[in-house]
């Protein structure tokens, strides 16, 4: 077992507060932590599960077995839990402060939804349980599909996709299936405006399409002439992020959809930003054939440090036959069931296992029901009001490349600061950390220089919005007075700027040079 302890570098004192750079480590607050591996000592454990009787693995050929248990860390419960609690203190989160990360909709995650998703009836139900055992969840999913139809103005919804990007793939595979069903195999291109989200072109590639990028016009909308120029018999579809990643509603939306339809293509709307237009605009009404929702944005399911989410897809008449399987069906007697494998041969098949990320969908259901129609409309109104309020306040301090009414977010730019002081958007962002705020999304969308994509959401108080604007103003002033302080920011975070270049050049992705299994098997 000595190998195991040997891998701890000498001088590293696991269990002690980590970091040679810090002589002293505060008792409360954010302190860097050793890794679990450094905390590990052979023989530490908490008794969770009884020892198996002899003969447990009888009948399994020796060469199929692992001779040594995997060299996972051996840590008793106190040290393990402390480790994660202390790591959590290194995180910024919606639960700790303002998080205006544009394009990500870091709004409040209602606490009752966490309770709901953990109800044993939901959480302990096996996805392959017979329909008769799953009537509660099936009814919930059925209702949620209907409600998303109403919100989108579309005909039907699949809840299966695991995230927005997967919703896109699902939608585009249905587009392909539709063209194929009509014997039209020439359509190999997907048109993507340059203000669309990065997942749109990536999806097109994944589905085997060529991406045709159309540039934006001076107002930040799709350049209609440029669009018309690329439409044609190879056009499978357009993918329109609307509102766009510039936070702008595409006011030529009807013309665009018509033009694409006229060229024989279909119109996909990336509805990840529907949080801006709930009850105000329904893609189905504008003729879109397919769209996806980002449940974790629009309906406020938590983002979990990167996920999970869910990306339901809504379709119009044309794509109905191609929806992934299984769908939730209602029987004559009012009971619910899942479609059986192979029951609907026109389906594109499945895009993941089981019916979907049910735990996320329970939260979305709760969110929708808590709000109702008027509440949802108010969500969008407040989100848009807050974004415009901030845009207005920052107008004199930062450049606002598209300074017109925005939706839930807007792009500012530090180009002026860069020109005048050498301070870049990155510096501004890092300095915001010292002011207690999470920075906005930066350098995105790619089409705006020194971009700051700011999405305040509807759940932040006016005091918070003012405080954030004040911080950005103070930073702009500081850029003129003391640019160095900004280049080296943040100064108050647990770590300073990171060496990302070395991280990429010599990737260190796990805590040990790979050695297979190292630990003798005790039992």
């Amino acid at each position: 077992m000595s190998e195991h302890i040997d891998v701890v570098a000498p001088g590293d004192a696991p269990g002690a507060p980590f970091g040679a750079a810090d002589a002293l480590c505060p008792a409360v607050g954010a302190a860097l932590q050793p890794t679990l591996d450094e905390l590990s000592r052979p023989g530490r454990r908490t008794a969770r599960v009884p020892h198996p009787p002899a003969g447990a693995l009888d009948g399994i050929p020796a060469e199929q077995l692992r001779s040594l248990p995997p060299a996972l860390p051996e840590v008793a419960e106190p040290d393990a839990v402390r480790h994660f609690v202390n790591l959590s203190h290194l995180n910024y989160a919606v639960d700790t402060g303002f998080y205006p990360l544009g394009s990500c909709t870091m709004k409040w995650n209602p606490k009752i939804n966490e309770w709901a998703a953990r109800l044993a009836g939901f959480a302990d139900l096996h996805p392959l349980a017979p329909d008769a055992l799953a009537q509660g969840t099936l009814e919930l999913l059925w209702d949620l599909e209907r409600w998303l139809c109403e919100v989108s103005g579309m005909r039907a919804v699949t809840l299966q996709p695991a995230a927005g990007a997967q919703g896109e793939l699902t939608g585009i595979l249905m587009v392909r299936a539709w063209h194929r069903s009509r014997g039209d195999s020439a359509r190999s291109e997907i048109i993507v405006p340059d203000s669309s989200h990065g997942t749109n072109p990536a999806t097109a590639s994944m589905a085997g399409y060529r991406t045709i990028t159309v540039k934006s016009d001076a107002r930040g909308g799709v350049d209609l002439d440029a669009l018309r120029a690329v439409l044609g018999p190879r056009t499978a579809a357009i993918m329109l992020t609307n509102p766009s990643t510039l936070g702008l509603f595409e006011d030529q939306v009807c013309e665009i959809v018509d033009a694409v339809h006229a060229a024989g293509g279909l119109a996909y709307m990336d509805g990840a930003n529907m949080n801006a237009v709930l009850g105000k605009f329904r893609p189905g009404d504008a003729g879109f054939d397919v769209m996806h929702f980002n449940v974790h944005k629009t309906f406020s399911t938590p983002h979990g440090g990167g996920g999970p989410g869910a990306g339901p897809v809504a379709v119009g008449e044309k794509l109905l036959p191609f929806l992934p399987s299984p769908r939730v069906l209602r029987e004559q007697d009012g009971s619910f069931r899942l479609e059986r494998p192979g029951e609907r041969p026109t389906s594109i098949g499945r895009v993941r296992s089981h019916v979907g990320s049910t735990g996320v969908l329970v939260r979305a259901y709760a969110y929708l029901l808590a709000h109702g129609a008027a509440g949802l409309e108010e969500v969008s109104e407040d989100a848009v009001l807050a974004a415009n309020y901030l845009r207005h306040r920052l107008r004199g301090t930062y450049e606002i490349p598209y300074d017109r009414v925005c939706k839930h977010e807007f792009v500012a730019s530090a180009s002026n600061l860069k020109r005048e002081t050498g301070v870049r958007t990155l510096d501004v962002a890092k300095r915001l950390i010292d002011h207690g705020h999470h920075p906005p999304t930066i350098y995105f969308p790619l089409i705006v220089e020194e971009a700051l994509l700011i999405e305040p959401t509807e759940t932040e108080s006016l005091e918070t919005l003012d405080d954030f604007a004040g911080a950005l103003e103070a930073i702009a002033a500081e850029a003129h007075e003391d640019p160095e302080a900004l280049h080296s920011a943040p100064h108050s975070a647990p770590v300073r700027r990171l060496d990302e270049a070395t991280a990429a050049r010599q990737p260190d992705l796990h805590w040990r040079p790979m050695t297979g299994a190292q630990m003798p098997c005790l039992d």
Partner: protein, 453 residues
């Protein structure tokens, strides 16, 4: 609005600052022709009402049966710490750690996740998470295609049918071919058939996907399959179940190039399908082909160790149509739960869980055989296997009424297979109790008498 802080007064102040009289002025960019007239939805409900509704729905599900259902999704004992950590707001209400200075909690736990999955799989590069086992498998197939430049994928018929279906869907949009490799009567992949399929030089194979254990619970000759794949210049993808890796030889040990699998057994609830955790790991040679997020260790400006997202040039927000995948939101919170699960159960606990499940499965095998339901396949198994029961779907339904969830009637997936349509796929884990096994066997005896009668 249920959760927002804005009072009418706050709104009026913002409108005044903007110089607008009505909120409608901010929506004038929506063409009138398509301005929505309002929505027709139930609600709003107060939280009290909402809690009643949700509790009623949850109560309509039935989770009180003695369950032998697995088929890729397994009940395990999960230390209470897992949910306590995963429900800390600092973790679950954060997002992708774009600002590493204030995201070291998320970043370090991902790094630890990668490290622990690397130990389990004996592979070097582990993605920070995919959606689920099915999509991780599909992405593994795409990796093989990208890495080899070839256009043909072979999938063992022992791979979970939903993973196979998903992979098919993912490959559908392309010029790629997917073929299945049949199983032998003992439940293992037919290596001779595999060899024949690999031999077709006109359509060289990019990757071979074999599941260990396979969907029937049978342990596959992975080393041999890998040898065959490699001999033909193809990559070998092992589709694995992570808890089993505490006792089974890890993919890296038999030379697999990629491991994909469903991480749900690592501390996640059954949850009727998700959110789950797609495991995807590869040799370091394939690291740059891995889709999804990676976190690496580095230092900060003061030389302190710190963690950061790395090799991001594979991702969609930077590379758009040239990205390795369109994945953006992933399953980070599920990966966190898996990390806490592994940290709190430990290597010996995980081994105990896996082996105790196997022991219970052997009890179950004996009990069911004695009740007239012998195993279908002769191959070795870990904790899941198919048993033969004539009229299996009807027997399954009759057992439900006796409080037994008798696994999965394989007719669900293989309605036309003359053997499988009369089979039940049953599993045991460390939470299966001997009393439940006895009740199952007793009920089966009863029911078989009735159904026959």
């Amino acid at each position: 609005m249920p959760y927002g802080p804005h009072t009418p007064d706050d709104r009026a102040r913002m409108r005044a600052a903007l110089g607008i009289a009505s909120i409608d002025e901010l929506f004038e960019d929506i063409p009138l022709a398509v301005r929505a007239p309002g929505l027709d939805l139930p609600g709003p409900l107060t939280e009290l009402e909402l809690s009643f509704r949700l509790r009623a729905l949850a109560g309509r599900n039935r989770i009180d049966l003695a369950s032998f259902l697995g088929a890729g999704v397994y009940r395990h004992y999960v230390p209470a710490a897992v949910d306590q950590i995963a429900s800390r707001g600092e973790f679950y209400t954060a997002y992708t750690p774009y600002q590493p200075e204030i995201s070291q909690g998320t970043l370090q736990t991902i790094y630890e996740y990668q490290s622990m999955l690397a130990e389990l799989t004996a592979l070097d590069a582990v993605s920070a998470s995919h959606y689920d086992g099915a999509t991780a498998t599909a992405e593994a197939a795409l990796m093989c295609l990208r890495a080899t430049g070839r256009a043909r994928i072979l999938v063992s018929a022992g791979v979970h049918p939903e993973y196979l279906a998903t992979t098919r869907t993912y490959l559908d949009g392309s010029r790629f071919a997917l073929e299945t490799v049949p199983l032998r009567a003992d439940g293992t992949t037919d290596l001779a058939a595999l060899e024949r399929l690999l031999a077709d030089a006109s359509a060289p194979v990019a990757g071979v996907l074999v599941a260990q254990p396979n969907v029937f619970g049978i342990l596959e000759p992975m080393a041999e399959a890998t040898r065959l794949a490699h001999a033909a210049g193809a990559l070998l993808v092992a589709v694995v179940e992570p808890v089993s890796l505490a006792v089974l030889a890890p993919p890296g040990a038999y030379g697999a190039d990629i491991a994909a699998g469903e991480g749900q057994p690592l501390g996640l609830p059954l949850g009727y399908g998700g959110p789950y955790l797609g495991i995807l790991a590869a040799t370091s040679a394939l690291m740059r082909q891995l889709p999804g997020r990676l976190v690496g260790r580095t230092t900060d400006a003061d030389g302190r160790r710190a963690f950061v997202m790395t090799l991001r040039a594979r991702e969609q927000d930077i590379r758009r149509e040239r990205a390795a995948s369109n994945i953006c939101t992933n399953q980070a919170l599920c990966a966190l739960a898996a990390t806490v699960y592994l940290a709190t159960i430990g290597p010996h606990g995980l081994r105990d869980a896996a082996a105790l499940g196997a022991a219970r499965a052997r009890e179950l095998e004996r009990a069911l055989a004695a009740a007239g339901a012998p195993r279908v396949h002769a191959g070795p198994y870990l904790n899941e296997f198919a048993v033969h029961v004539s009229d299996a779907p009807r027997v399954h339904a009759a057992l439900l009424e006796r409080g037994i969830l008798a696994g999965l009637p394989l007719a669900t997936w293989f309605p036309d297979d003359p053997v499988l349509r009369d089979a039940l796929l049953v599993c045991a884990t460390e939470v299966t109790q001997t009393a439940e096994i006895e009740a199952f066997a007793a009920a089966l005896r009863d029911v078989r008498t009735e159904v026959v009668a």
